[in-house]
Symmetry: C2
Subunit: 352 residues, 2 copies
């Protein structure tokens, strides 16, 4: 089994340090991938700091992976050596049903996360994309369209599909009024995607600092939520609000921004229960909902959509040694809009 | 303007007493209706007791009205004298838009409730169906199909469409797993409607007392919510839960009964904020929603559906003098399943 170099958190909140481990030997339906880039997702920070209480250490984070195929098992049919590929949030899914639920496998309990998971049927931890290479079952490998560069496409594998999936689920199309709350890694891609689907997009951020960017990304309107009058002005406006933040919001106030039949979808996980006044739900048939990642099928569709519309993430590339500093800047909202680790350069520059 | 005899609450929580008032003279697009039957809706009790703080007195309740057309204005095209008709929860809707929003007018602020409302553009109160006759604009009058008896059809005008509307909105069809919470006026019709749409229906009530009825109404399963193990057994089961109760439930526990993409719809208005754990929403793409009445178009569709499937309410007929006693029995859940006032007999038996 090949030894792989990566970076790991060895315990909660530890700085990331070099870590060598073994990837599994290639199985018949496996694809071996030389990792070129890996996005830094906010989840990486939550998990390396054990914010949700289910972290396993040592942990090699990273689930926005792009790279090049270096080997394929004999039963692999869709990929060949040299192909440009990606790996997202999970590398296997529920296998208890006779047929894979390709439309919503991400919600099934059998899902195997790309890192901080366990290999199916074993106690071997999964390790993510802050590493030289990865071995993934063919069915969980994405093809990256030629038009998309491997660096700026990497964040699409998590941030991109996490926004794309609810936009599709709630049938956003021309003329729909969509709000995107939070202009970070998810939000900025969400604005681009919703705009490309024909929606009239309103971006909502904490301050006016990102207003100009919002317009450049495709928003028709930017609202600083610090402006106390904005909730009154926008009452009854939106068909869909996609919230990328994990803050404990004033949910009833936000529901008031929805039009009839509107839906507020939380993509972030607040750490407290949501307290909701029933009236805006009932007298307006509004919904409060959540959404989580996207299926592999949907991720591949999203990549095709992004290729068609020329959508990638706005990125800042860093070396693997800069990850801890990058984490601090993510927490300070000081990145426009996604850090991507230049994995290939980082490791090729090192001596082992 | 014709003087009409009815029964009114003259102040909050007062017993209903005889009350004479004037209906408006017939306008060009009005239909005059001799009221035969009027269902007793739980809302009548809430409003006569000013439970929500916006009651106006004197109040003639009643919004589940059936009767016979006695006169039509010269511009009325769809109704003629002698027609069997109904009137539901509202008698006019928002008129500020160029086109009537026929699919969701019930959510627009301009709606004019059948009672406890104001005639459009005036300060004249609207009076409901606990009275001999009513005058309603043609566009808000329903045609009652021949197959439906006027007494047992009356509750369809509110209870029926309040259940039908969310079943359609959330696209319930063959094989869908639907739960109906509460086996009262709404719930018992909801079971029939969902079953007729092909759903597998689970009825949930407080005790096992109504289990036999639930099966007769079309439920495949009856669960007493007092059975503490039931939540565990039913975890992840339902596509749609329609809750007809106004109780302050353990919302997170109820959301746990939904499958992936499932929706919990509250039709009752709890008097406290709903506290919801975000995890079941996000990691399962579930929704918490509300719904309220139905449009006139939808009500007419519902009546056709009920005629096709032989669905009416299970009723107990009472005289107008028995309404206060009936209210007490409704509050004690002691009716299977809807009281209907025999309006015509009640008033014809009186001397004025």
């Amino acid at each position: 089994m090949p030894t792989v170099h990566g970076y790991a958190a060895t315990r909660a909140s530890a700085k990331l340090t070099p870590f060598s481990f073994e990837r599994r030997a290639l199985r018949d339906d496996d694809v071996a991938i030389d990792i070129r880039f890996c996005g830094i997702c906010h989840t990486d920070i939550h998990l390396t700091r054990d914010a949700w209480g289910f972290s396993m250490f040592p942990m090699v984070p990273g689930h926005e992976i792009t790279g090049i195929v270096t080997a394929v098992g004999p039963k692999v049919t869709r990929f060949a050596v040299g192909d440009r590929v990606g790996v997202g949030c999970f590398v296997d899914s529920c296998t208890t049903c006779a047929t894979r639920d390709v439309d919503r496998e991400q919600y099934l309990p059998g899902i195997v996360l790309t890192y901080n998971g366990l290999e199916p049927g074993s106690v071997t931890p999964t390790y993510g994309g802050y590493s030289e290479s990865i071995v993934v079952k063919e069915g969980y490998v994405l093809s990256i369209p030629e038009r998309l560069p491997l660096d700026a496409a990497a964040p699409l594998l998590c941030a991109g599909v996490t926004m794309y999936s609810p936009l599709r689920r709630w049938k956003i199309g021309p003329g729909a009024k969509v709000a995107v709350v939070g202009m970070g890694g998810l939000g900025h891609v969400g604005i681009k995607l919703a705009r490309a689907m024909g929606a009239e997009v309103t971006a909502l951020g904490r301050s006016v600092a990102k207003q100009e960017d919002a317009f450049r990304l495709g928003a028709a309107r930017y609202i600083a939520t610090s402006d106390v009058g904005s909730f009154e002005k926008l009452a009854g406006t939106f068909d869909l609000i996609l919230s990328t933040v994990s803050a404990n919001l004033d949910w009833s106030a936000w529901l008031g921004l929805l039009g009839i039949d509107g839906t507020f979808v939380s993509l972030g996980m607040p750490d407290q229960a949501m307290t909701v006044s029933p009236a805006p739900l009932i007298v307006g048939r509004r919904s409060l909902a959540g959404s989580y990642m996207g299926s592999i099928k949907e991720t591949q569709e999203m990549l095709a959509f992004c290729a068609e519309h020329g959508i990638v993430a706005d990125i800042e590339t860093v070396g693997i040694d800069d990850v801890d500093a990058a984490y601090e800047r993510v927490l300070a909202s000081d990145v426009r809009y996604r850090f991507v680790i230049d994995v290939a350069s980082s490791f090729s520059a090192k001596r082992y």
